[in-house]
Amino acid sequence: MSASQIFNFFICPGGIFAIFFGLVLVSLERIAVARFQGRVGPPIFQNIFDVIKLITKEVMIPKDATNRFFFLLAPVFGFAGMVAAVSVIPVAGVSSGLGANSDLIVLIYLLALPAVSHILGGSSSGSTYSAVSVSREVVLMFAYEITFIIVIFTVALAAGNGNGAVFSLQQIVDYQLTNGSFISDPRMLPALFAFLIFMLATLEVPPFHIAENDADVIKGYLMEYSGRPLALFEMTHALKLLVLITVLQIFFFPGIAANNPVANLLWYMFKSGVIVFLIALIHACMASFRVDQAFKFLLTVPVVLALASLGMVLFL
C-alpha cells in the first residue's frame, strides 16, 4: 500500500475521520429527531462521549454465553467490515477508494458484515431476546437484500450506458461527473426511492425498527453487550450509516463542488448532513412495522420500484 492509501485508510476519509464523522452524524440524527418531536436532544458530540465512556466501563459477559471468545469476537467482525468498506468506497473529488477492490460486489458483501456481526453476537450471548432479534434481523435481510441487489445492477447498467455493466465505484462516479448525476435521470428515480427504503431497513430506523426494538425485544442482539464490545457495536453502527450515505451519494448524486479536495470533503459532509435530516424526518414521522408487515412491505414496494428502474434502464 502506498502512503496515500495508508493515509486514506487510517486518517481520512476512512479510519479516524470516518468514525468521528459517523458518530457526529448519529448524534445529528438524534438531535434532528428530537427537534422534530419538540425535544432538545443531545449535544452534537454525545455519541463520541458515549463511546469513550463505554470503552472505560466494566465489561459484563453472561455466564450463559455459549462461547466467551466468540461473544467478544462478534463485534470485531462487523467493525472490521465497515472500516474496510469506508476505505474501499470513493468519495467524489476526495479519494478514489482502494483501486482494485472498489467494486460493487465487494461492497454488497462488506455491507452485509455488520448484520452478520449482530447475528453472531446476539446468537452467542445466549439470551432469548437476542435469539428472537436474530431471527428478525435475518428475515429482514432476506427481504431488503434483494432490493439492494437490483438497485446495484441498475446503477451498474446505467453507468455502463448500453455497453454492459460497470462495477467499479470510481467509474460510476466518473460517469456521473461527466454525464450528469443519476438523480436528474427520471429512469433512476424509482431506484433512488428503493435505495432509501433499503437504507432505512438496514439501518433499523423506523418504520423498520424491529430487530433491535427497545419496546419488545429490549435492544435485541445488543442486550447482553456492555463496555468495549458495545462501543465497537456503536462505532460499527456509525460507520454503517456513513457508508450507506456515501454509497447513496455515489449512486445518485456524486457531484463535486470544486477542484479542491478540502472543498469537496466539506461539500460531501454537507450532503451527508442533509441526508441525515431526511432520515431523521422519516424516523420522527413513522411508527414501526411488525416484522411480518415489514417483510411483506420490503418484498413488494421497494422491489417493484427497483425493478421498474432496472426495466427502464434496460429498455429505454
Binding site: V59, A80, S124, M141
Partner: protein, 797 residues
C-alpha cells in the same frame, strides 16, 4: 439378407406385421413387468421378468440396422447365462428356506452368502450395469435403435428398462437387505455344488471386462447369417493404472479387513491407498483439466478415510464400506481420466450404480435402504438417458474419442438432441431443480464420510462432463441446428443453475435436519458451479471451476462438522441441539469458517469464486442470472445462521451436558479443510496457474493474476489487500480489548425476572426461526405444486 438393403428391408421382421407385433409385445412387456413387480413368488417373479425381457428383445428384430442381429444374439446369450444363474440359485434358495414366498424369504441371502453372491451379481447384471456383460449388449441394442433412426423409441426402450430395474431392486431388498428372522440355516454347500454357479459368474464378468472379445463370436455368427456387424461402436474400455490400483486395493482391503476386523487399520489403509494412487496419476498423460480433478478426488479421499477412523468406529463391517467407497472413487477417477465417452459411461455407471448403492445402504436399516434405493433408481434413469445420448453421438460422428470429437462433432438435429440429452443427464447428476430431493440427492441416512464425499466431489462429475461436452461442441464449431443452438442449451443450463440456487436454498430454510440442510445447500452451490461453467467464457468458466474446487473444501468441511456433532450427540435434528460451541469449540470454529465460506463472506474462498461468477454473468449480459444468483447468497447465509444458532449457540440443553469434543482423527481433516478455505480466500492465485492452463486447454483466454489478486479486463479483485484491511481493522479492534484493562464480570442473561426457566426453555431452536420467510416460501411451494400437479411433502421426507 442383403446388408446394403435400403430402409425397411434390412430388418428381419418389417412392414405391418412388425407394427402389430410391436404393439402386442409392448403390452406384454409392460404387463410382465408389472406382474413381476408385485408377485410374491420368487421364481415367478423371475419367470415374468424373463418373459418380459425376451419379448422386448424381439423388438430389435424389427430394427433396420446392420448389426441389430449381432446385438440381438449377444444380448440373448448374455441374458440366458444370467437367467440360468439366477434360476439355479433361486431354486436352491427356495429349497433351503422351505418356501417360495418372497415375503417369507426376507434376508435369507444374508445367512447364505456363498450361495447368494452369484444371485446378487445376477440381479445387478440383469439391470444392465457394468462390469457385467449385459451392460454392453444392452448398449448395442439401444445403438441399433438409434442407428435405424428411432431415437425416440430408444428412449422409450431405455425408460422401459426402469420398470424391470424396480423388479430386481425389490428382489434384492427382500433377499439381501431385510433382517432375517427365520430358522437357522446351515451354509453347507460343497465346492462342486457351487462351482457351476461361480463358473457362470466368470462368464458374465468376462463379457463385462473384455466386451470386445466376447462380442466377436456373435459378430461372426451374424456375419454368416448375412448381417455383418458393420459400424458397431468400439467396445474397449480404458483402464488407467490409478483406477486398476484402486480396484485391487479396495478388494484387498475387503478381504484383509474381513480377517483382521480392525476399523483403524482398514481406514488408514484406504487413506494410504488414495495417497499412493496419486503416484501413477502424476505420470498419466491425461489433460490438465481431467488430471486436476482426479487429484482432488484422491486428495479428498485421503482426508475422508482419516475421518472415518473415528466416525466409523462403532459401526459394523467397516471394511465393506471402505471397499465399496473406494470402488466408487475408482469409478470417479475413471470418469475423470476417460479419453472417450464410452469409457466415461462405463466408469460413470460404476460410480453411480450398484457400487454406490451398496456403500450407501451401509447402515442397513429400513430408512437407509429406502432412501438409497430411491437414489439408485434416479441414477439408473439418468444412465438410461445417457445410454441413448452416447449412442446418438456415436451414430452422428462415428467416434466417441473426445480428441477426435473435437474435429468431428456435429450439430445435426440428432446431434443437437444428443447434446441436450447429455447436458440433461449431467444436470441430473448435479441434482439441479430439486423437486424431489429424496430421489435426486444422495440419501441422508448414509454414513457422513460418504455423504460429504458425494456432495463435495462425486456430484461434480456432472458439471465436469458438461464442460467437456460444451467444449467439444464449441471447438468443433458445432453450434447451431434447425432445432436449437448450443448457446440456447447453455443459456437454459445456466438458468436451471440459477433457479436451483434460490430454490434449494429456500428449501434449506424449511428443514430441521442438519444433513438435509447440507444436502440442499450442495444442490444450491452446484447451481453456482453449473451457472459459471455454462457461460463458457474465461471469467465464467474460471469462476465456475473455482467454485467447483472451493465448494469441495467448504461443503465437505460442513459435512464433517455435522458428522462430528452427530457422533457426539446422536441426533440429526437441529431442534434437539443447542449450545454445543461450549463443548466442541474446535468443531464450532471449523463450522464457522465453513459457514462464512459458503455464504461468500470476504476473507474466505467462496467469496472469490462467487465474485467471478457474478462478473461472468454480467460480462455475458445476463442480468437476471446475476441478480438471482446473488440473492441466493442471502438465503444461504440465512439457513446457515439457523443451523449455527440452533446447534452450536444459544443454550446448552441438559441432555447434552456431557458432550465431548470430536477426536483428532476427525478434527485433523476438518482443520485441513478450514486452512484451505482461508488460504484460498486470501491467496486465490495459488490455484490460478492450473486454472489458466485449463482455460488455455479450452481455447479460452487466461486471466491475469498474482497470488492475492485476480484481474479480468476492467475488473479486479485484490483479496490480499481486502484481507489485509479486514485483518488490520480486526487487530485494531482487538487491541481495544487488550490495551484498556477494565474489570470483567460474569453475569446471567436478562430474562425479565423469570426464575424457573430451564436451558431448553430459553433456547430458541431452528423450528422457530424465520417464520415469515418460511410462510412465504411455503406459499410459493404450494403454488408451484398446484401448477405442476406435484403431490406430497417436499422437504422433510
Amino acid at each position: 439378407m442383403d446388408p446394403n438393403a435400403v430402409n425397411g428391408a434390412s430388418a428381419l421382421i418389417h412392414g405391418p406385421t412388425a407394427e402389430v407385433l410391436n404393439i402386442l409385445s409392448e403390452m406384454i412387456f409392460i404387463f410382465c413387468g408389472i406382474k413381476a413387480l408385485f408377485h410374491k413368488n420368487l421364481k415367478r417373479v423371475f419367470l415374468f421378468a424373463l418373459v418380459g425381457l425376451v419379448v422386448e428383445l424381439r423388438s430389435s428384430l424389427t430394427v433396420d440396422s446392420h448389426f441389430a442381429l449381432s446385438a440381438f444374439l449377444f444380448h440373448v446369450f448374455n441374458y440366458s447365462i444370467i437367467f440360468v444363474l439366477v434360476f439355479l440359485v433361486a431354486k436352491t434358495l427356495c429349497e433351503k428356506a422351505g418356501t417360495e414366498k418372497l415375503t417369507e424369504m426376507r434376508g435369507v441371502a444374508r445367512v447364505l452368502p456363498r450361495l447368494t453372491i452369484p444371485m446378487g451379481i445376477g440381479l445387478f447384471a440383469m439391470m444392465g450395469l457394468p462390469p457385467f456383460s449385459s451392460f454392453f449388449s444392452k448398449f448395442l441394442l439401444v445403438f441399433a435403435f438409434v442407428d435405424s433412426g428411432k431415437l425416440y423409441n430408444s428412449i422409450l426402450l431405455a425408460a422401459g428398462e426402469l420398470l424391470y430395474f424396480l423388479v430386481f431392486i425389490r428382489v434384492f431388498r427382500f433377499l439381501f437387505l431385510d433382517k432375517y428372522n427365520g430358522k437357522p440355516l446351515k451354509d453347507d454347500f460343497t465346492i462342486p455344488k457351487l462351482a457351476p454357479l461361480y463358473g457362470l459368474v466368470v462368464f458374465i464378468l468376462i463379457g463385462g471386462l473384455a466386451p470386445a472379445l466376447a462380442f466377436k463370436p456373435f459378430a461372426f455368427l451374424s456375419g454368416v447369417l448375412g448381417a455383418s456387424a458393420k459400424g458397431a461402436p468400439p467396445l474397449s474400455i480404458s483402464w488407467p493404472i490409478t483406477v486398476v490400483m484402486m480396484i485391487f486395493g479396495a478388494i484387498a482391503i475387503y478381504f484383509t479387513g474381513q480377517k483382521i476386523n480392525n476399523n483403524r487399520i482398514s481406514a488408514l489403509a484406504a487413506s494410504a491407498l488414495c495417497l499412493v494412487s496419486m503416484i501413477p496419476l502424476a505420470a498419466c498423460d491425461a489433460d490438465i483439466y481431467s488430471k486436476s480433478f482426479a487429484f482432488l478426488v484422491l486428495f479428498m479421499g485421503v482426508l475422508q478415510f482419516t475421518y472415518s477412523v473415528s466416525y466409523m468406529e462403532h459401526s459394523h463391517k467397516q471394511y465393506r464400506f471402505y471397499c465399496f467407497f473406494l470402488l466408487m472413487m475408482a469409478g470417479l477417477v475413471g470418469v475423470c481420466l476417460a479419453k472417450d465417452l464410452w469409457s466415461m459411461f462405463f466408469w460413470w455407471e460404476i460410480m453411480s450404480g450398484w457400487v454406490l448403492y451398496i456403500a450407501l445402504i451401509h447402515e442397513e436399516d429400513a430408512f437407509s435402504v429406502q432412501e438409497a434405493s430411491k437414489y439408485f433408481t434416479y441414477n439408473y434413469f439418468g444412465a438410461a438417458i445417457l445410454t441413448v445420448a452416447v449412442a446418438a453421438v456415436y451414430e452422428e460422428t462415428r467416434t466417441l474419442n473426445l480428441e477426435q470429437l473435437v474435429q468431428s462433432y456435429v450439430f445435426t438435429e440428432a446431434g443437437a438432441v444428443a447434446t441436450a440429452l447429455l447436458t440433461f443427464v449431467f444436470l441430473m447428476k448435479a441434482a439441479q431443480l430439486p423437486f424431489r430431493i429424496d430421489f435426486q440427492m444422495h440419501p441422508k441416512p448414509a454414513p457422513t464420510p460418504i455423504s460429504g464425499y458425494i456432495s463435495s466431489t462425486v456430484l461434480k462429475s456432472g458439471p465436469f462432463m458438461m464442460v467437456k461436452i460444451f467444449f467439444v461442441a464449441m471447438a468443433a464449431g458445432a453450434v447451431s441446428s434447425k432445432l436449437f443452438t448450443l448457446a440456447q442449451i447453455q443459456h437454459v443450463a445456466a438458468w436451471i443453475g440459477a433457479i436451483t440456487i434460490v430454490m434449494a436454498a429456500s428449501f434449506a430454510l424449511l428443514t430441521n435436519s442438519m444433513k438435509r440442510l447440507l444436502i440442499f445447500h450442495t444442490v444450491s452451490q452446484l447451481g453456482y458451479v453449473v451457472l459459471g461453467c455454462a457461460l463458457m467464457t474465461s471469467i465464467g468458466l474460471a469462476g465456475g471451476l473455482m467454485h467447483f474446487v472451493n465448494h469441495m473444501f467448504f461443503k465437505n468441511l460442513l459435512f464433517l462438522c455435522a458428522g462430528a456433532v452427530f457422533i457426539a450427540t446422536g441426533t440429526d435434528r437441529m431442534d434437539q441441539l443447542g449450545g454445543l460451541a461450549r463443548k466442541m469449540p474446535i468443531t464450532f470454529f471449523c463450522f464457522m469458517v465453513g459457514t462464512l465460506a459458503i455464504s461468500g463472506v470476504p476473507l474466505f474462498n467462496g467469496f472469490v469464486s462467487k465474485w467471478m461468477i457474478y462478473h461472468g454473468c454480467m460480462d455475458s449480459g445476463f442480468i437476471g442470472l446475476a441478480i438471482v444468483s446473488l440473492f441466493g447468497s442471502v438465503l444461504t447465509l440465512a439457513s446457515f445462521i439457523k443451523f449455527m444458532h440452533s446447534a452450536y449457540l444459544g443454550q446448552l440443553s441438559e441432555k447434552l451436558q456431557d458432550t465431548k469434543e470430536a477426536s483428532w482423527y476427525m478434527l485433523a481433516p476438518m482443520l485441513v479443510f478450514t486452512t484451505l478455505c482461508i488460504l484460498l480466500g486470501i491467496f486465490p492465485g495459488a490455484v490460478m496457474s492450473t486454472m489458466n492452463s485449463i482455460l488455455t486447454h479450452f481455447n479460452l483466454e487466461p486471466l491475469a493474476y498474482s497470488p492475492g489478486m485476480i484481474a479480468y479486463q476492467g475488473a479486479a479483485l485484490n483479496t490480499l489487500q481486502l484481507s489485509a484491511l479486514l485483518i488490520i481493522a480486526s487487530v485494531v479492534a482487538w487491541l481495544l480489548y487488550k490495551a484498556i484493562n477494565t474489570k470483567t464480570r460474569a453475569t446471567h442473561v436478562y430474562v425479565c425476572g423469570v426464575g424457573d426457566l430451564t436451558h431448553s426453555d430459553a433456547h430458541v431452536s431452528s423450528v422457530n426461526f424465520y417464520e415469515d420467510a418460511k410462510k412465504f416460501i411455503k406459499a410459493v411451494v404450494r403454488i408451484t405444486k398446484k401448477s405442476i400437479g406435484l403431490q406430497g411433502e417436499y422437504v422433510e421426507r
